[in-house]
Amino acid sequence: MMLLSFNKGVSNVNTLRVAFLAVAVAFVAAGCSTTKLDDSAAASSTKAAPAPAPAPTPAPAPVKQVDSTPATPIDPLNDPKSILARRSVYFEFDRSSINETDIAVVEAHGRYLVDHSARTVRIEGNCDERGGREYNLALGQRRADAVRERLKVLGVSVSRVETVSLGKEKPRNTGHTDAAWAENRRADIVYK
């Protein structure tokens, strides 16, 4: 049972990943189809010049930030090296204040959401297995709400941020150790 439960957690994550991939592929495909014309034009026109690596940005490069999206082929959300690849923030036992080390994660997603006003997210609050189910349901809700509050402060409209508590019912790690519990005291940022 425990094993099954664990597998389910994994398959859930995988399902989500597949969903993200699908979105990403759609994005990239769209990006490719529009840039392809440019690329092929650029490629044909620069055919003679072999050495300089062609592709990246036809526009001048100095713009430093991610918000130069129109020309960016890859959504930073899908960059495994980006801080946006981190979708979970963690909490202490019976606490709902985001761990200091994870605040940067929420802020990065906040900036992304500000820049991508069409995206919406669901924040899922989770708890470790210790204590009652109802109390943990309330605690998970407060954890999700804590993330939403942070996003709101960063300028994200709360209408774009749904929160749900899974209480202690959906542990990612079904172990009974301190490490397992720490992994389960968590809020996940799920892009819809």
Partner: protein, 500 residues
């Protein structure tokens, strides 16, 4: 009124008597047999999260046929003389009464020693009724079962009282099952005091055959009440949730001993916080089947159910008012977890708490005057109470920094809850009059205590050997038992009301 009832009542009225012996029973397990698959549709294959369908199976709870009430049996002729003597003794303000009372109320009181002989039957009984009765009595912690031997003893048989007395069986139950011409079975039972040599109780039941186990529980209830003066709970029902896998949950209903489980609801998503309506006809619970928590009211006789609370945000923590007309619950519709009451028709929603902290797990006191609940307004979670119509809350628990899941005993005298101490979660009981607090379990991952309708036992969920099980403890912490099912994690028990 017969002698036993009077004596019992007297004994009961002494109050504060220790109900269980100092010696603790070793943990006992018994089997929760598999669901009757015929009553539920087969499990469908699981699809994606969204494609999975809820499979709802209805449970029809049979009404108790009149025969369960039984027909009182007059003392057998051989016992008439002894009964007459007893009656004289009673009228004289008797030492008989005193002796019975001392057994229950003395310091370090004993268990009642009782022999339950195998039933005499003219045809094979589908249930070992005597074994059911023995298990019931032993599980209560208030009886010591004396070996009665393999031979059945007919209800009409003469009883050699000195012999039973010398074997340590101060009381003896015997019974016969007789097949009638119309194919029904008559169960005739008698309870004897072998010290005094008289009949304490005698009753006849008519059975269609399918309810023999239930009649055995009824007889155990009679024996329990005859000797303790407290109403028995062996013929009541419990409900609980079983998780078989990450995507298979069932809400089940079973007899108080875990037998005859029926599935009321199957779901691919979690079910928590089931609770019985005061009339025993319905369960309210929280289901995540819509990928958010919604409170449902489920009629067990029809299998029909409807959402009582499906507001934006989380809907949870249902608790019926004692009159069964309204419900307290927890909603996050206005922000954080707050307590509300709502009529069972869905109208008259009222918010009772206004606090930025968590307010959750409301329960009504049996008189309907108070709502006890969990709040972390002081930092960690503690138990509070407020008037049932709302108002200032008073803190109730003060020991430790984590106390949750309050339940008030049906007699209104005790508060049971889960207390965390050094990362151990255990059922604790506070006597509301004396404010004395007692930890009553020896398990350390306890959750969801629920009182038996007679307030003497508490059923709760815990974890032993990595599995969720249900366990029993007497309210005074002296007796304990464990219920083990064949598979799955069992949790979220709720004890139903007295059966009708």
């Amino acid at each position: 009124m017969n002698r036993t009832e009077r004596i019992s009542r007297l004994a009961y009225n002494r109050g504060n008597m220790p109900l269980f012996p100092a010696d603790r029973d070793p943990p006992r397990s018994f089997r929760i047999s598999a669901s009757r698959s015929s009553s539920t549709p087969p499990q469908r294959p699981q699809g994606s999260l969204r494609a999975r369908q809820l499979i709802i199976a209805s449970v029809v709870l049979a009404r108790a046929p009149f025969s369960w009430l039984g027909r009182r049996l007059a003392p057998a002729p051989a016992q008439l003389a002894a009964a007459a003597l007893t009656m004289l003794g009673l009228l004289a303000g008797s030492p008989v009464r005193a002796q019975m009372t001392v057994e229950i109320t003395g310091v370090g009181s004993q268990q009642f020693p009782i022999a339950v002989a195998n039933f005499f039957s003219d045809s094979a009984l589908p249930e070992d009724m005597a074994a059911v009765i023995r298990a019931d009595l032993a599980r209560s912690g208030m009886f010591r079962i004396v070996e009665a031997g393999p031979n059945p003893i007919a209800e009409s048989a003469g009883v050699n009282f000195p012999d039973w007395k010398s074997r340590g069986a101060d009381t003896l139950a015997i019974a016969s099952a007789v097949r009638l011409a119309d194919n029904r079975t008559e169960i005739r039972y008698r309870l004897y005091d072998s010290v005094k040599g008289n009949q304490l109780d005698g009753l006849a039941y008519l059975s269609s055959g399918a309810d023999l186990r239930r009649i055995a529980h009824r007889i155990a209830d009679r024996i329990y009440e005859s000797l303790t003066g407290i109403k028995g709970v062996f013929s009541t029902r419990i409900a609980y949730v079983v998780q078989y896998s990450a995507s298979r949950y069932e809400l089940q209903i079973a007899d108080a001993d875990g037998a005859n489980p029926l599935t009321a609801l199957k779901s691919p998503e979690f079910i928590i916080s089931p609770t019985w309506s005061p009339d025993g006809n319905s369960l309210a619970y929280v289901s995540f089947e819509k990928h958010k928590t919604v409170v449902y009211l489920h009629n067990l006789a029809t299998g029909q159910r409807r959402a009582i609370a499906s507001f934006p945000g989380s809907n949870s923590g249902p608790a019926f008012s004692p009159d069964g007309r309204s419900m307290a619950l927890v909603l996050t519709r206005d922000g954080n977890s707050e307590i509300y009451t709502v009529g069972l028709d869905g109208g008259n929603l009222r918010r009772l708490t206004f606090d930025p902290s968590i307010d959750t797990e409301p329960v009504f006191s049996p008189d309907g005057a108070w709502i006890y609940f969990t709040s972390d307004r002081s930092g960690g979670p503690q138990i509070y109470r407020m008037p049932a119509a709302g108002g200032d809350a008073q803190r109730v628990t003060f020991q430790g920094d984590y106390n949750i899941s309050p339940r008030i005993s049906p007699d209104g005298k005790s508060l049971a809850f889960i207390a965390r101490r050094s990362d151990q979660f255990q059922v604790a009981v506070i006597d509301l009059a004396s404010e004395q607090q007692l930890t009553i379990t020896d398990t350390v991952r306890d959750e969801a205590p629920t009182f038996a309708p007679n307030s003497r036992l508490i059923l709760y969920a815990t974890e032993v050997g990595g599995r969720g099980i249900l366990a029993l403890a007497s309210t005074d912490g002296r007796a304990r038992a464990r219920l083990s099912g064949p598979n799955g994690d069992v949790r979220e028990p709720t004890w139903g009301p007295f059966s009708k």
